[in-house]
Assembly symmetry: D2
Homo-oligomer: 344 residues x 4
């Protein structure tokens, strides 16, 4: 099975290389970015002798003819243009940007401040939250790979939202992310000197992942009201933690909810529920496709705290993309993704 | 004016040294800890040639006779024992531990799991939240210096709580702290290898600062219900950020609330309110006694997000302790505390 | 092929788990440490659902009977005692400590300040610098797995030492290491608060890896004089860089030396020589068994600068140990070790 | 005494603000950079309410008329152009760039690859290594403020070079720096994601500070031969450590050399010599103008290891600049510079 990667010199792109290089079924056929005509190991010396492929210009016809699937590890706005060139080709597309995620294009305009992709494409795209959309993913041609924050948030919230255990207007998500999510383009705010020994909050109540989370929550439970969503930039390279607060409607205790989560995710090896009294730390999923979840009900307030961690480049981007590709091609979901966490 | 410091080899203790060394009125008379009979610069080489005082054993009589004020930079449980030895001496006490903070000793037992100090001492101790208890602090003999998390939380919440703008059961505090707050005693969880490239949540709904926050909130507004309070360990040395979420009762906008905060803290130079659309980062108060606050109302949810940052060793410990000492001795609050933030 | 690990709860031990878990030939039969009778995932939650084996007490007879090879991921001094219990068993031993490395036990006493293992064991132990002792390793029963600093230093120096291109008294090694090399036992010096935003030099001219480096250099070239060796503690978790300075005897240029190194290591996939004008960074080998080397001759001084980087837990400990096990059991050296670097 | 700062929005510029804001004699008269017409606190929110001055365009006439001294916190190449506009004004200049440092302009061309300032300016500029050029600095009009690496290196080497204790061709300087030295301009190599958990060596044998170090060493001892000089980028914001290796000519021991250093720097409060057996760490001088030095002679090799640390933005830039200004205006050298290190 042949794959192409567009946007290979970004951090999600090079993470796709790391995964696919040792994937037993997918074969990296061609890699593309704007930095053409040099070996990938000139841009990323850590790949020396591992992959010495050249970065090529994009030739839509060749990609369409020669590859079975293409990963778009490109920013929002760019993916739109690529998708529009690729839709007529006989190739599956997995887009890691936000361009195919929002079904209502007016929401895209409002939150992304860019031109949306046309509705016909949106309609046929499948939201690739692997654990929850497996059936649609199997038959999809175009996958909107979920955002990093939505992945951690939605996997953490799904069981209690679906069970309708939560007061619909009470959802607060306090999210923290490492810097690799901000990408490789130099900017003042992501310089070492500015991020180190620091914690910054950004896009308060304005993050473009908000409507993506709400769209999926409402598909599970139509009563869900707008959420409060905050994002913080951590001085770490990899990892996202979402600390989620919800008001419980019923009198539920921690044990019962842990049981619910364990049952819900029993068949989903990438979601691990932590034992009572313990919570996941972001380093404990580093370099893997795991989403680890811890839970605690506070009897004093009737509120449930959900802690969900992922590696933003893996389950939050490249890992889930490969998981979706596995599903699309009928492979076991874990194929090529059975990394142990890099700890310490 | 002569000062003694007990617990000088801890991080709050050595921060007191840094401040008091250049304080124009207070003079460091004696320093104490269990690591006696060595120069402080043997324990902390950065103090070489700056302070070459010996660390001494505790002699309560001498301290009481020779010093005007003693800072207890000691852990909860230890402070209790020291206070009980010092109450009969003619000396003011500023205790940086949690031992004098909770008026209801059953709450101390419940959250600290230790024996409380006797009620007569609790009654006479004054909670040293400098910006709000100035009058009581002026005439106090014993100061319960506030905890690091409560300081950031309470300064951030005070104006809207006092104005009764907030739904009483809606307060959620998502707090993040650097490692210096965990102190200098080696433990597995605070090793570099465990904290670096990591984010950990701890004491979920069980942190001993919870009742301290609630006690003060209820003094401002008796209706306040139990809060939700979470703490995270950041891979930074100094700094606390509290991200606070509250449901507004009235339809208030960001501008109006920024005005309220600016007016409230107009005469309080250590509290800085950030302009609309901007939020403080923890590095921006590093090494200073500032508490910086940013605000945003989300029209979609009617919720207010308050972001409050301090340097946990300064406004969260040693800095506020010296601010309180300044007030107790009739000095300008800023005396010896006019550091500019160390940035970058 | 069955393996046992003693010292599994240390950082090298858990890294062995990470490697061996996905090794296609070796099977983890039993894991041991002093923290017995709990699942490894209680000590290391990142291993939840991956390895749920119990940590067992050491039963030398059972280990000897049931396993084919045992890894001792234990500190110097402890390994000695374990080896003495295991030598009569029919089991291969790979010791990651310094106890079997120095052929002259008086050097061990001088640098380690401990009792040495008996000479008969030292004589039969093989120094497991995989790229250089392959033949002896194949037939060895007991492997002294090299130290982290010696591995980076020796792979960097070997070609020019063997060719006798270097003034024998001119070798200076300025080494820098991450904190995982200091192990998991809490100590003041390895607290996050002490290591972060810091760089410390330690054991100046006194590091116990000095005689290990000199012993091997002299086996390559008997003229070699004592070296200067300094070690620094970096604020990173993983990685060692050695910056090595030597005076060249002949007039050699960078191109010629790069050719020499490429030829020397042509058949050794874990040593990668960087192109002229570029140097390796420690993150570029993170999580892998690579040793990357860069070279530059300064015409002004006639000195050669060699830069060599490894992941101290991999090529500097667990990775090289598995590489040696592969060699001992006739497998391809890379078996189970073909990780791509985790970058970023 | 009125001062102007050009290049105020760079890291050395804002560090000058931090120092000068609390300086008892110098008064910040005007601040300049290319980011004009906004308050400095819009660029650096940590300065809110501390300094609310506007950043102004450069008006050479006004600066010359109204200020007594101007600090050029500008890059090499820019300073040249500014100096040429300012030389006719009645104002002292302290230039933090490399433009005035090299007396031989052909060396500037060779190492900086830029046009040099004209010789008449070079001749009259005084190299502001405060501890060694005090007399010339007193009467200087134009100061070439030393580079960060040269400051740490030269203070560490001076006593043994002047005493001619060192083999002239044996000097090796292995230098490590934090990222603030790389400045505030975004670039790929200084992104958090690239620097974090990493150590990179750069400009091997090609750093432009090499001739600056050699020029001063030769003024102390004409026999000195070219040095070997390497620079590494540390994952820390502030701090430089230089680890210096020299071959001793005579049989000297550590005690004797520590005495020599203590005597040499006895009257120089910013240089602190560490007790035998101990070495400085970079955090121990953070935020101060100290240069701390540790020494060790290795009897096995006859080599001396010198470890010298500074805060690159302080003694390596803004701090030494103010120290020089103090000397130029007849003040005590420590005026406004008596910060205690920020530790932890």
């Amino acid at each position: 099975m042949k794959v192409s990667i567009i946007g290979v010199t970004g951090y999600s792109g090079v993470e796709l290389l790391r995964i696919l290089h040792s994937h037993p079924v997918f074969d990296i056929h061609s890699i593309h970015s704007t930095k053409v005509d040099r070996s990938i190991s000139e841009e990323y010396p850590h790949m020396l002798h591992i992959i010495d492929k050249k970065v090529e210009d994009i030739d839509f016809d060749r990609i369409g003819e020669e590859s079975d699937v293409v990963f778009l590890a490109t920013p929002s706005g760019i993916s739109k243009r690529l998708v529009e060139q690729l839709i007529d080709k006989d190739i599956k597309i997995i887009d890691l940007s936000g361009d195919l995620r929002l079904k209502d294009s007016s929401e895209y305009i409002q939150w992304y401040k860019k031109d949306p992709v046309k509705n016909s494409i949106l309609t046929e795209s499948v939201y690739g939250l692997s654990e929850w959309n497996e059936e649609s993913i199997q038959s999809a041609k175009w996958i909107a790979n979920p955002g990093c924050y939505p992945t951690a948030t939605l996997l953490g919230l799904a069981p209690v939202i679906i069970e309708q255990f939560v007061e619909p207007a009470s959802i607060i998500v306090d999210a923290k992310s490492g810097t690799s999510g901000a990408g490789k383009t130099p900017s003042n705010g992501t310089l070492y000197t500015e991020v180190n020994e620091n914690l910054k909050i950004y896009k308060v109540n304005e993050h473009q992942h908000t409507p993506e989370i709400e769209q999926q929550l409402r598909m599970w439970n139509g009563e869900i009201k707008p959420i409060t969503f905050s994002t913080h930039l951590l001085p770490v390279t990899r990892g996202i933690m979402t600390t989620i607060y919800v008001q419980l409607i019923e009198d539920l205790d921690t044990d019962k909810l842990i049981d619910l989560y364990k049952n819900t995710y029993e068949k989903h090896p990438f979601v691990r529920i932590r034992p009572k009294g313990t919570f996941p730390a972001i380093k404990e999923v580093c370099s893997t496709n795991y989403c680890d979840i811890g839970l605690h009900v506070d009897k004093r307030t009737g509120r449930l705290t959900i802690v969900s961690v992922i590696d933003n480049l893996m389950k939050g981007a490249a890992g889930q993309a490969v998981q979706n590709a596995n599903i699309m091609f009928g492979l076991d979901q874990q194929t090529g993704l059975n990394f142990s966490p890099l700890y310490p």
